[in-house]
Amino acid sequence: MTSFAFMNKNYLLRVQHLSKSFPGVKALDDIHLDIEAGKVHAVMGENGAGKSTLMKILIGMMAPDSGSIFFKGENTSFRSVHDAIKAGFSMIHQELLPFPDLTVAENIYMGRYPVIFPGWVNRRKLNADAQQLINRLGLSVKANRKMKTLRIAEMQMVEIAKAISNNAALMIMDEPTSAISQKEVDTLFAIIKNLTASGVAVIYISHKMDEVLQIADTVTVLRDGKCIVTRAASELNKDSLISMIVGRPIDIIFDKKHFERGEILLSVRDLSGNGFREVSFDVYAGEILGVAGLMGAGRTEIMRALFGLDEIRSGTIYFKGNPVKIKSPDVAMALGIGFISEDRKETGLVLTSTVKKNITLGALNLCSHNYIIDKKKEAIIADEQILRFKIKTTGRNQVINFLSGGNQQKVVLAKVLLRDPQVIIFDEPTRGIDIGAKAEIYRMMTELAAIGKAIIMISSELPEVLGMSDRILVVRNGKITGEMKGEEATQEKIMHFAMV
């Protein structure tokens, strides 16, 4: 051991020989990680590489099978999240866990309310402190607003405020930018710089190369539960990172091909509803229609209404030229519209159920006769989809909760595409999933367009919109403010329509 060499350095956190297995998978295999105070240490890897498991162990949500964790030089193993927070850990989860009916201030200081005397909350101080913190983050919400009235991006910023308010020595950020806009990302990075300047260590988990290279001092890449490399960010570039993450070079992520545009499949005229008004557009067979805009611009709301999930107040939808009334998703699906939601846990999957049952849920007619399910046929269909979408699972009967995010997303895709829809709406299809899975989803979209499907892709990631779209719509404040051809579009043009 060359441990003496390390002794000189001021490591805040040292992870050694850490391993963890789940039934059928070795999630972490002899992991080493050294975190310095005052530095940003990025951890990258594909979905299922072991990042989440590692973080869950660090924060005390899970116990390792073997290995040791030294925090401030002491051997620690947190028995609970509470212990970890007390010791100076803090974590921003990728999936938000707010208390929707409490105020922003109450959420930020949950468990640490200032009191006048024990048991009596000092509401004035609570709100004042929270407001000060919010303002410092450049967020324009009132501290006494109910959490549920906030947009997802705002909730994410509140989550960050909560972590900062802990005065933590080590902050773990799991995909903190997956739901926020570029402007808010800049604010976040400024905050991170402030934090590290005051000696806080940040573990930054992200799939976004640009961000990692911009903010991180050190990068560790995990693949299949093993540490592949730990290196200074300055020695890395996008290509080298990608090839380390996937274990092979990816030449082209956006393998975009243009196909002959077919007939108009879907026409929307003067559609108004909750969050959008007088929206009109057409979608053609064989094209990918990108829908860009800021968070909360109303893009998702338009598509939810189109799919029958939300109410339509006025306007008309034409499917293949015929006016249709879409009152509920089953009507939309019967017409041939598929919807892949941005929130797989809320509207995508039944988490208590298995991979198989989720895949076939929307298309039981394919494997049933007179309402009786043909279980053999169902198993065959499920296995075919698992194979076709390369879903990593221990089997079709695995409970979906145990799958990684990217694999869960693939199950949603497998489910929706099993119905063979003509028009497919992808809402943020690659949010929070790794580069390998992203490339697969892009390839799938291209294939679908090639066989004459119409694809609507809502995305907040401009490279994705520019790389994949034949045509781009820009939405702002519930209205379509711009339309352009894919090859004519630039980031600046889109942002112009999205913000001005």
Binding site: M61, L309, S368
Partner: protein, 315 residues
């Protein structure tokens, strides 16, 4: 979580825990008293549990769909007195009281379901209201008096034997088999699990959520009616005060059987075992001359213990 490690080791125990508990209970009781493990006593147990069993199977549907039904006991009374009213000797053929009774229960289930789905009122509240309403209706309909003097054909349902087996047991078995198939092998069964597991996702998968919930409440109401008819027939009277708190035993059986009150998870076989456990506890403690006061305490401990066992399984 340390529980993660525990989970793997005790997977078998938690998966089949309730079955193991059931068998252990049977062994203990057969050692404790020679009267327990006799063919005659087992038939007595089965006949005793059949009413609660039919109710428990009905409410299993509702609970898996993410709801609850507190009106069961009152529906038992209501359908009992209504059916009995058409079952006097030399009036109507047997089919008439049966159909009227069943339709009454189905009607109650339909109303529960409609208010819950279209009115968007919490199932707990709706069925709590229905609990007193149905009880009141039973009292109004019967003028507060037992409806007796019933035809032999009607009394056969609760008191007769067919091929040496009491008819209520046969009905219970039939209900179990049909429900098992409904929940495991049909599309509507699959939809019930999906709606209870994640209503939003079920809706986005094209499932007509309201129709599915309505179906569950109708099945539950219909089975409560069947239980009401069996009970009225067995005691040869339609009793407006029958079935008080029956819903609690039924829900207890469902919970002991591992069905989650959060919805989306549960089985018919689990409920059957839950029903049997409650049955043999009642029977065994009777045989052992344990006072009925203590019986209640023991039953409560077992309900909570079963759920504790199940918690470990859930995550």
């Amino acid at each position: 979580m340390i529980a993660g490690k525990l989970k793997q080791g005790s997977n078998i125990i938690s998966r089949y825990g309730i079955f193991i508990a059931f068998i252990v209970l049977c062994i203990l009781l057969s050692v404790a008293t020679p009267h327990f493990l006799t063919g005659q006593n087992l038939l007595i147990i089965l006949r005793q549990v059949s009413v609660n069993g039919i109710l428990a199977i009905g409410v299993t549907f509702v609970i898996i769909a993410g709801g609850i039904d507190l009106s069961l006991g009152s529906v038992v009374a209501l359908t009992g007195v209504v059916a009995a009213g058409y079952a006097h000797p030399n009036t109507y053929p047997l089919i008439v009281p049966l159909l009227i009774g069943l339709f009454t229960g189905v009607g109650v289930g339909l109303i529960n379901g409609l208010v819950i789905t279209l009115g968007k009122v919490a199932p707990f509240i709706v069925t709590l209201g229905m609990m007193t309403m149905a009880r009141g209706l039973a009292l109004v309909w019967s003028d507060g008096r037992p409806v007796s003097n019933l035809s032999p054909a009607f009394n056969f349902i609760g008191g007769g034997d067919w091929l040496y087996i009491p008819v209520p047991i046969l009905l219970f078995v039939l209900v179990v088999v049909v429900s098992y198939i409904l929940l495991n092998n049909t599309t509507i069964g699959r939809y019930i699990y999906a709606v209870g597991g994640n209503e939003q996702a079920a809706k986005a998968s094209g499932i007509r959520v309201n129709a599915v919930k309505l179906f569950a409440y109708i099945i539950c109401g219909g089975l409560a009616a069947l239980a009401g008819i069996v009970l009225a027939s067995r005691i040869t009277t339609g009793q407006p005060n029958a079935g008080i708190a029956y819903e609690l035993d039924a829900i207890a059986a469902v919970v002991i059987g591992g069905t989650s009150l959060m919805g989306g998870r549960g089985t018919v076989t689990g409920t059957v075992v839950g029903v049997l456990i409650i049955g043999i506890i009642n029977n065994g403690l009777d045989l052992l001359n344990v006072s009925s006061y203590y019986q209640q305490i023991i039953k409560g401990v077992i309900i909570i213990g079963a759920v504790l066992l199940d918690r470990r399984n859930a995550r």
